[in-house]
């Protein structure tokens, strides 16, 4: 747990405080997933966008890790990320905003493995 917390802090500093920082292409997806898992203790389980949305985002990131992602995967990540704006409290809302920053800065990284041509 201590390691996860450290990672969350590290990621927060990189993405939120310095939004221009980009992660390397090969470790982006695993580290974003690590960040999401690190948020589990904060999730209260009351609203669907956060409780179920975060788990689904992790599953979608797994598709990237397994090399099975398609353009649909990316679109779904986008959809669930924006849906976190409907969360009930700041936990979900913050995860959503962090994910938006990730998409803003690294869309090309996520797009590359799924583009057709």
């Amino acid at each position: 747990m201590a390691t996860e917390s450290l990672n969350v802090k590290e990621l927060y500093e990189k993405w939120i405080l310095d939004a221009k920082t980009k992660l390397t292409e090969d470790n982006l997806v695993p580290r974003v997933k690590e960040y999401l898992i690190g948020q589990h203790p904060e999730i209260c389980g009351k609203c669907a966008p956060c409780r179920d949305g975060v788990i689904k985002l992790e599953q979608l990131l797994d598709e990237y890790i397994d090399g099975k992602a398609t353009i649909k995967t990316l679109k779904e990540i986008e959809r669930l990320t924006y849906n976190l704006r409907a969360s009930r409290c700041s936990v979900g809302l913050d995860i959503g905003k962090n994910m938006e920053v990730i998409l803003d800065n690294n869309y090309h990284v996520l797009y590359k493995p799924v583009k057709k041509y």
Binding site: G45, A48, I55, K72, N83, R85, S87
Partner: protein, 566 residues
């Protein structure tokens, strides 16, 4: 007052109004799922989210109050997309076996997915969050269908006041709503009123299935009698799309029952009149003995179980009489058809608690149940609809007239009937008591209602109570404990507005609850041409004959029921 704009329309609303209510004022309907007015306004489901200009996030309309100058969009692309995504997420954790779901045809969640045209993208329809099923004698719960809206929890706590169902978030990523983990409903303090079943927007909570058992009875060599309560008649008319006051449907329905194999269909009128007569006697005795504590009615099995579970000290106040459908079941088996050994009685009730009541050992006749199964309005409607009958084309054949086929002779005010009987016995004129509401409001579920009246028997005056609804029952027990007034009698039902609002009644969406309750009450009144009680000679005869010899079949006993408190 706050001036706000909703979808381009400017309006003024009172401060403190929620966005949902403000939108309703100008005819804009915002979809809701977990919302139950005054009962569950917690913004859990996020289906009612709307966009407010200058707010960076979407807000829930059901519990966000308006602020002056707010500009709200209830149907923007962002909102629509979010609703769909949330519904998609909820659906991904819901088991879809709709064709065999107890709520088939009345599922709010299904209707909502349809209305919002939810398309499953990456995650198809789910197999459920949890595959456990929790059983109970009156109600059961299939956790694979739960969408965690928490409506049932709010109803169980705020309306019924039993606090059985709880939202358990020990694992926040996979919470469950359930009674005490590891226990069935019977062991966790449930009274089986079924209000949670009505509140559930999916088929998670449902009345324990008796349909299959009744189907088996009909296939075997049995003489199966259906006894139908008046409130169930109203619910059935609703279920089949007839007007609530259209009595012509009753004969059609009875014919349909015969077509599926029931030998006889009767009303529960004899049982009710018999109960009124016996209760009149009991109340008279109660007065003769000058007991200080009131006599509490025992026809509502939910209330009886509630008292046994939560108010064990008050059990000696409960009337010792068995409930009307049990008395009538006894008569049908032990008197009317005593020559047959294959008689089975099925009660058609607006109540889920009766499913539990029939299994009580205290009510058995030499080990056999007086009533074999109880079908709710929804269950019997489903059984008939499954046969695919065209109800408008069913030819009603000659009805067999018997004392059991008639509706009760007592008027609608059952308490009034009992009091009138006592006045008659005392040989004093009876004046209809005038009731005054002392708790809650009539036709409103949340608080229930306690009505008080003073009744005069000659020179003597007595206070009586008419109580309905879980909160009102709790308030009544508090009142009886704390008041210096003495009360003679209380007529109690645990569901607000009584059996017309029972847990086994027809489920209606998109109609205000108090409107439905009012209409049902009017329909019940219309069933009785006269507001006066007339004597049911048949019920009197069996009271003085059959039951005078078998007093033990008329009365029952109560005991404190243990359950695991959390």
């Amino acid at each position: 007052m706050a001036s706000i704009t909703i979808n381009g329309k400017t309006l003024k609303v009172k401060n403190g109004t929620t966005i949902l209510k403000a939108a309703e004022q100008i005819g804009i309907e915002i979809p809701t799922l977990c919302f139950l007015e005054e009962i569950n306004e917690i913004g859990f489901c996020r289906v009612c989210v709307v966009e407010v200009e200058d707010e960076q996030d979407l807000v829930s309309a059901c519990n966000t109050e308006v602020a002056n100058g707010m500009v709200i969009h209830t149907n923007s692309d962002k909102v629509k997309e979010s609703r769909r995504a949330t519904l998609d997420l909820l659906a991904s954790k819901h088991r879809f076996d709709c064709w065999r779901c107890p709520k088939d045809g009345m599922c709010e969640f299904y209707d909502m997915l349809k209305e919002h045209d939810v398309v499953f993208e990456e995650f198809g329809p789910g197999i459920g969050r949890n595959d456990e099923t929790i059983y109970g004698t009156g109600i059961s719960q299939d956790l694979s269908k739960c969408i965690l809206c928490k409506r049932c929890v709010a109803v169980c706590q705020e309306v019924v006041t039993a606090n059985v169902l709880k939202f358990r978030d020990e694992d926040p990523l996979n919470p469950v709503v359930s009674p005490t983990p590891g226990l069935a409903f019977d062991e966790s303090g449930c009274i089986f009123c079924g209000q949670c079943v009505k509140a559930c927007p999916t088929g998670t909570l449902y009345e324990t299935n008796h349909v299959d058992n009744v189907e088996d009875l009909l296939l075997e060599d049995n003489y199966v009698i259906a006894q139908i309560a008046e409130e169930a008649r109203i619910g059935l008319r609703e279920e089949f799309g007839y007007d609530m006051q259209d009595a012509s449907f009753d004969d059609v329905f009875d014919q349909a029952l015969k077509m599926i194999g029931f030998e006889e269909t009767v009303s529960t009128g004899v049982g009710e009149d018999l109960h009124v007569r016996a209760l009149g006697e009991e109340l008279y005795q109660h007065m003769e003995e000058k007991k200080e504590e009131p006599l509490l009615s025992s026809w509502c099995s939910g209330f009886v179980r509630y008292s046994e579970l939560y108010y064990g000290d008050n059990l000696d106040q409960l009337s010792s009489l068995r409930s009307p459908h049990i008395l009538q079941g006894t008569l049908l088996k032990k008197q009317e058809h005593k020559a047959k050994d294959n008689v089975k009685v099925v009660s058609i009730m607006p109540c889920t608690s009766k499913k539990y009541e029939i299994t009580r050992d205290e009510l058995k006749l030499d080990g056999e149940q007086a009533v074999d199964y109880v079908l709710t309005v929804r269950e019997i409607a489903k059984m008939i609809k499954r046969r695919g009958f065209d109800m408008s084309n069913i030819k009603v054949q000659d009805k067999k007239e018997s004392p059991y086929s008639e509706t009760r002779k007592s008027s609608n005010d059952l308490l009034g009937n009992v009091l009138a009987y006592v006045a008659n016995k005392l040989n004093v004129p009876f004046e209809e008591p005038k009731y005054k509401v002392i708790h809650g409001e009539r036709l409103v579920e949340t608080e229930g209602v306690i009505e008080e009246a003073t009744v005069k028997f000659g020179k003597a005056k007595y206070n009586v109570l008419r109580v309905s609804g879980g909160n009102a029952v709790k308030a009544m027990y508090k009142l009886l404990k704390e008041t210096k007034k003495t009360y003679l009698f209380a007529d109690v039902s645990h569901c607000a507005s009584g059996c017309t609002n029972g847990g086994g009644q027809a489920i209606r969406h998109n109609v205000e609850m108090h409107e439905i309750l009012k209409a049902r009450e009017e329909a019940i009144c219309a069933m009785h041409a006269s507001t006066e009680t007339t004597t049911n000679e048949f019920a009197n005869n069996v009271f003085e004959g059959f039951f005078a010899e078998s007093r033990d079949l008329l009365e029952t006993s109560y005991s404190v029921k243990e359950f695991t408190k959390e």
